[in-house]
Amino acid sequence: MGASRILIVDDEPQIRRFLRVSLTAHGFEISEAANAKEALQSVSSDPPALIVLDLGLPDRDGQALLPDLRAICPAPVIVLSVRADEREKVRALDAGAADYIVKPFGMPEFLARVRAALRVRSPPEAAPIYTVGDLHIDIARHRVTLDGRSIRLSRREFDLLAVLAAHAGRVVTHTQLLREIWGPVHEQDTQYLRVYVRQLRDKLGDDPLRPRFIENEPGVGYRLLEPEAYPQAPTE
């Protein structure tokens, strides 16, 4: 199989151009769509590995297009938008977007998100092992090691870390986290999260002023940071 193909949906030719140039340089294949109609055509005729979607499209709002794209194509969607409001972010993420990037953005950040979104996870085995930098998380054995040292976590702390690790590099909304760890009843109880994130950070020795592992996206959710950029695009 060749390089992963990325569909860029944006009505601004300049944006498409610099994305194309940068992404091609990093070994991706690119196809482009200037509006929602073209995007849907492109996706149904030749499904891409990843979709980069602008919200401000001329013929249809990206927020409305997103579920349609998700319905016909399993590829992850990264939303690119000038809309910085947290509610827009949460809405897109809850509608199935893999990530949300506010324009303007830097290329290293963008590439990191692309890789995170594209990372092909091992098929859901019974007990995957996540490695995020020096952090190893063994789901089956319920063990976490940092720099080889074992760290004792409570069950909730472990669950939290596990969910974040499963989406490493991507923001997980409060709602998603709460639903997966405490169940749908507690979707609004964000203070639970705050408390557990704090405890988890303490145990991981993470400084919120200069986070190494867990980053807060205020009003949106948390993200487990990936420490290093990959030298090239992951290939199969």
Partner: protein, 898 residues
Amino acid sequence: MVEEERPSPDALLAETRREGRGRLKIFLGAAPGVGKTYEMLSVARRRRAEGIDVVVGIVETHGRTETMALLEGLPLLPRLRVHYRGRDFEELDLDALLARKPKLALVDELAHTNVPGSRHEKRYQDVDELLNAGIDVFTTLNVQHIESLNDLVERITGVKVRERLPDRVLETAEEIELIDLPPEELTKRLREGKVYVPEEAQRAVENFFSRGNLLVLRELAMRMAVERVDADLQSYMRARAIEGPWPARGRILVCIGADQQAEQLVRLGKRIADRRQLPWTTLHVQTSRAEELRESQREYLQAAFTLAEQLGARAESINGSGIASEVLAYAATQNVTEIVVGRSRRRLAQLRLRPALAWALLERGNDFEITVASQADDARAKDTSSTERSVIRPLHIRPYAESAIAVALATGVAWILDQYLGIGDVSLVYLFAVLIAAIRHGLLPGLFASVLASLAFNFFFTDPRFTLQVTSPDNLLSILFFLLVSVIGGNLAARLRAQIRITRESAEQSGLLFDFSRRIAGAVSAEDLLRATCQYLTETLDFESIALRAYRDAGLGDPIGVTEPPALIDIDRGAAEWAAAHGEPAGSGTGTLPASWWLFAPLGTAQRPIAVIGLNLGAKRASLTPEQRRLFFSMRDQAATALERILLTEDVKRAQLISESDRLRSALLSSVSHDLRTPLASIIGSASGLKELGDNASPAARRELTTTILEEAQRLNRFVQNLLDMTRLGHGALTPRSDWCDLRELIGRARARLDQPLHEHRLEVTIATDAEIVYADPALLEQVIVNVLDNAAKFSPPGSRVDIAASVLADDIVIAVTDEGPGIPPAERERVFDMFYRVRHRDQRRPGTGLGLAICKGFVEAMGGHIAVRAGREGHGTRIEISLPRREPPRSRLTEAA
């Protein structure tokens, strides 16, 4: 009424309309032969001598030698020969005159009818064309040709004048000169054959030039000229807003009483005013007897006032003790020339001691022409009023009872004096009782007491005692004195009481007005003021009241009322609009749209109406009493003055606001142009450099240029963020979405965002454990921290330290950012939060928009906190303190579970 003090637009318009147009001068005479043409030519010669270009368009000399002599030396325009029905006529050559275009043209006989086939039917139309062409015109006219006097002239002289001149032509004349010749002279000239007699009058020549006719015509001509002078004077004064009174004209004053004759007097006044062409006023003086005004009398008075206003009079009511003196005093101040008064009825029952008003005025009003009107249906009036009195006025028992008691007491005292002290003449005791009764209760009880006293005195103390026989003339005299004293005392007392009542009433009124002025002084907006006015009017007059703002171009606004303003039907609204448009009251009780339930009075002048206030009279089917009327209009005037003041203040404020927003706009412009362009310049410069170098760029140069592009773009991004935040604040639509957040996370994010601006500074973060969790909108607080840190980095030297510390202080969590920069002078510490404000240090201009701290202030205050500037460590640098209210974080039961 409000006097116009602004130049009337109509008058100014009339003045300007004259500009560019030629001026018309009319030499007006009473009859042919008075010397109009002669005078016209004399004046024209003088003008020519002054160097003015004069041309004689057409002048009829009628073969008179003196006149012909005057034509000598004046340029004559050849006449136009017109052939009509086999005859030749000579007419004014209009086209030639227009082509010649002199400064001044002489055109005789303004009323002349042109021969059929000429351009215009009448000569005055030719003259009009000349005037329009900018040519001044001198012309002549006999008074009998004036349209409005035509009937009169025909009636007097028996001559039907065919050539008539519309009055409006006279009105366009700049100047009218009356050429007067005494009738004797004219008759003499006529006999000497020096007068040309017009064709129409040939047969009636004897008749026409009779001495009586000439006198009448002369008076007409004079009056015409005088009226012109008055009109000129008025339009001159109006155009220049000179306040009246204009002495050249007078005013008719119609004095009315509260009786049936009042309306008749008003009608008579209207006729006189029309005849004299003078403005007029209806005046009622309220005196002692006003106290006794019965319902029917009030109605008479109101009906008369209503009628007067309908007929165009000013209606006034004043308080005073003596009618004659009040009338004369009023007349003296109001430029009155003629007083109309009714002949007073003397009612026996009233036994008035004062002379009839008419007599008093005739005696004392030497400066005025006084007309005494006779009474048309006196008898009927008397009848109705007397029956009404007995029906309407109930007899009060109490005063009579008290009078009787006084007499009884007097009898007792007199008895004691007589029996025990042996004082024979006790009539004085009775006199005293009579006096007391008269003073206390007025005339009738006084008379009653005097009768009782006479009887008692007669019965008890005169011989023969215990009979009512009168034998001695002394006793008769006593009885007479009792009566006299009671009349005098009663009258005096009544007058005194009335005086007191009037004083009290006017004190009450001035109290009300004062109270009103105080109440409206507090109003800051026009709506406030109008609402207060309505409220006050409703309270004092007991009629529902509303106000409507009047806008110059947009008509009337919505009604403003004390409570829910009522719905106005079309006729009400029509009345309100009329009042606003004409500057006069309209609606109920006036001559305009009286079917409306509302009485509307305008505030301001007809030229500039500001508002209209209305009283709902209809609901009660009532009309205003003279006092209410006076109060209503006084308050209206006061409100108008206050409203003018408020509107002026609003104008000034608006002007200030505009200049303030102008200042902001220019500040924004300079900020945007500087702060957008600087980073753009770096970006464009670096990018184009990079492109131009291409592969020749050394890796180091390439890195440097790309770094510049990136950093400058990020700076631009921050600036745009600021502008966006500013607009969020400006719209007032900023509602924080507060939640519990970890301050360390926010500071961490802020630091990450400011990586580049802060990389040369040492950032020290100290956060107390109990200040870690704050309740705030994370996005807003993050932006605040970014702005404050950015500011600190910008204004402090590279390598210096920037501290950010958070701690709990009383009920607040205080986030303080301290730098080692130059600091902000105490005087400017408040102002740094103003938009576009930048602290200046000599000529140094720091980068920055002047927006950052203004945004911080807006955001922090939106979150319920406050922000302040203090001096930094040991008085150096700047310390910015953000205080947010501290809340106890919810204790999660999950904490324990962990």
